[in-house]
Symmetry: C2
Subunit: 219 residues, 2 copies
């Protein structure tokens, strides 16, 4: 019975996600769904990415948080549209909250929308938002065992970022095991190593994003 | 409608949690529910805590993970009973899974059961397992903003552990803000600072645990 209820929730979510996807396609806006544990560095990566992207593209952000609008405030300084969704304790964003947030954005003028999902490696992966791609962020400090323990977030991601590589000298972290476990789940994923706080690895990731955005724009 | 379904789920969970609590009371076994983000250090803390506790108490562990039994394998070396619960993608433990796990343990012989919950700062807090106390583990690397963004996990916790203090020299971390935000949510919480990998802060925490266990045993 409980499984049936969950299936209905997911079916409804998928229907609205398709609506979002079609809307974004018509407006030629792409949506990137960023997922990670709490504190893996999603907001810092966006703080470093947005100024570079802004040279060529107009960018907006939808911020998902259980409570507070702290992350949205950190991104407001770039003079870009930022919409905050507070889930009030729910552990993931869903397509309906994205549908509502999109109403607050002028999609006609936006090339790229980043969605910063709620900090959680599990449930966000089950909820299609209508995004074009998913990006999983893992932090070196979480340990090399996370890809095997939380494969869901990697399965449908186009990119995985290993963040906080500046802390590697102070950690026990088996990078070979980490990469092998990622590739076992998703052999076609693009891996970027990054220390976003120090700008390390940002340009490679932004180059990739720009090239990907060009390809998508061609269609 | 969806809210009603969730309320039913929580009501059912609370009923079984009460059953667990009564069973544990009769057996004079205490249960400690450990909650954190992925990779904050719950298993490492248990690896350092169990050998010290074992000198006076018999200890068992219930391991919750979405997938794999990696953490359970890390604890098997202490020759203690360890029961693995794989939630198969669910983001939290519930009281029924604990009820089933308890059947695999000889409660008569156990003084303390640690429950290592699924790595997630949100949903585990909503599900009473029948535990005596909750312990929240936060890591310095997650940033000082987590208590205000994820207050749920702190609200009913008896203890909060700030782990990975050995990395503080390499991080930007406002400890004053961190502590103020914790106390704003839960003024009576006990805070322990720890670098579990280096054994720093372990003895203070174990001393507290032993004294708390004594007090509970008196009742």
């Amino acid at each position: 019975m409980e499984i049936k209820v969950l299936k209905n929730v997911l079916d409804r979510n998928n229907n609205i996600a398709e609506k979002n996807r079609e809307l974004l396609r018509i407006k030629n806006t792409v949506m990137i769904n960023m997922m990670s544990s709490p504190g893996a560095g999603k907001t810092t990566i966006l703080e470093k990415t947005i100024p570079l992207l802004k040279e060529k593209y107009s960018v907006g952000v939808i911020e998902g948080d259980a409570y507070t609008s702290k992350d949205a405030l950190r991104l407001k300084k770039f003079n870009i549209p930022v919409v905050q969704i507070n889930t009030e304790g729910a552990c993931h964003l869903d397509s309906n909250s994205i549908y509502e947030a999109c109403k607050e954005l002028d999609l006609e003028k936006l090339d790229i929308i980043f969605v910063e999902n709620v900090g959680n490696l599990i449930c966000p992966a089950a909820f299609d938002l209508g995004e074009n791609i998913r990006v999983a962020v893992l932090s070196t400090t979480e340990g090399e065992d996370k890809p095997s323990k939380y494969p869901m977030v990697l399965r449908d991601s186009k990119v995985v970022i290993l963040n906080k590589t500046d802390l590697l000298p102070h950690l026990v972290f088996n990078k070979k095991e980490f990469i092998n476990d990622i590739l076992a789940v998703n052999p076609h994923i693009n891996l970027f190593e990054m220390a976003a706080n120090l700008d390390s690895g940002i340009s490679e990731w932004v180059d990739w994003l720009m090239q990907w955005r060009l390809r998508v724009g061609d269609r």
